[in-house]
Symmetry: C2
Subunit: 200 residues, 2 copies
Amino acid sequence: MESKRTQASRTAATRAALVAAARPLFAERGFAAVGTDEIARAAGVTRGALYHQFAGKTDLFAAVFETVEAEIAARLAAALGDGGSGDPVATLHDGIDGWLAACADPEVHRIVLIEAPAALGWERWREIGRRYGVGLVEAVVQGLLDAGRLPPQPVLPLAHVLVGALEEAALFAARADDRAQATADVRAALVRLVDGLVVP
Amino acid sequence: MESKRTQASRTAATRAALVAAARPLFAERGFAAVGTDEIARAAGVTRGALYHQFAGKTDLFAAVFETVEAEIAARLAAALGDGGSGDPVATLHDGIDGWLAACADPEVHRIVLIEAPAALGWERWREIGRRYGVGLVEAVVQGLLDAGRLPPQPVLPLAHVLVGALEEAALFAARADDRAQATADVRAALVRLVDGLVVP
DNA sequence: TGCTTTCCATACAGTCCGTCCGTAAGTTAC
DNA sequence: GTAACTTACGGACGGACTGTATGGAAAGCA
C-alpha cells in the first residue's frame, strides 16, 4: 500500500522533515544565524514548502521547541511515574536527575533555555513551557502541598522559582568543563534547596 | 569652556549617545527586531559612526548590557553595603528585594534576562554577568559559608542555582498582571528557599 | 602652518525574509 | 472515468538589513 500518498501524509512528512532538519541547525548555531534556505535544503524541499507549512521562520522554531519540550516531558513523566507510589520528596529528587540528564544534550538546552525566550518572547515561551516542563513542576509542588509537606502558599510563584533554579542548574552543568562533576554539584545544591523547603 | 572638543570627548559622547539610544529600543522590541539605522538616527548620528565605535551590532548590544548590569550591581552593592554590619541572612533578604525592584523595569529584565543570552551566547552572557550580579551572589554565598551559616560546599553551583531562581522570580513578577502581589509572592518563596538553606 | 591620525557620512555589495504566481498532486462531484 | 476544485509545492521577485569600502572633516602633533 501507500503507492498513492494522501494529502495528510504529505503534509505530515514535509512538516516532520522540516522540524527534524531545523532542530540540529538551531541547536548548533542559534535561531538568528541559520537561514530558511539552509533548513529547506537540509529537509529536501524548498522554501516554498516551508512557507506553505509554517507561518514563518519563528513558527517553525516554535514547532521545533514544542517537539523538544514534549520529549523532555514524556521522559520526566515516565521517570516520575515509576516513583509515584513512593515518597513525594524522592519523586522530586528523581525529577531533578531526569531534568539534568535531559538537558545534557545541547539540542535541548540551547533550544529550550537560550534561543526560545528571545525568539518566541517570554510570554509565548512560558505559555508553551507551561504545557510541558513548567506544568510538571506545578503538579509536583501541588502534590507536596496536598500531602502537607510544604507550608501553605500559592503554587505558581514557588513553581517558577524552582523552574528558574532548575534551568540555570542545567545550563551550568551542561556548559561546564567537567560536566560530570558539575552535574553532581548542582544536583547536591538543588537537593539541599528542596529539602530545606519541605517539612517532615 | 568646551569650545574645542577633544577626540576622547567626541568618542565618549557618540558612544554614550548610541548606547542611550539603543537601550530603550532593544528593551522594547528586542535585539533582532531593531535595525542599526534606526539606532543611529535615534542617536543623531549615522551608521558609519556606529560601525566606527563598535565592532558591530552585537558589540553595541554588549555595551548596553554592561551598562544595565553595572547599574544593577551599583544599586545592589549600595543596598547590601548598608546592611553589611548586620546579619548576613538579613543582607541576603535585602538583596532579594533590591533585585526584584531593579528588574521591575522592563529595560532591565528584557535586556538582561531575555535578549542577552541569545544575542551574546550563554558563555559571554555569564562572563559579563559574573563581573556584576552573579559575582555579588557568589560573594554573599561565600560570606555565608565563612560565617558557618551554610554547610560546607562549593560556592559556584549554589550561586548559579540561586541566580537562576532570582532571575525567573524577577521575570515572573515583572510580567504578572498584578505585579505588586506577584512580587510579594515570589519574594516569600525566595525567602523560604534561602532560609531553608542556612543553619542557625 | 603642514602633516598625520582619528572620527564620521555616504555609497555599495551580499544576504536573508516574506510574498506572489504558476504548476503539479490529490480530492470531490457527476 | 473525467471534470471541477482544493491543497502542496517550486521558483522568482521586492524590500530590508548588516557589514564594508571610500572620501572628507575635525582634532592632534610637529
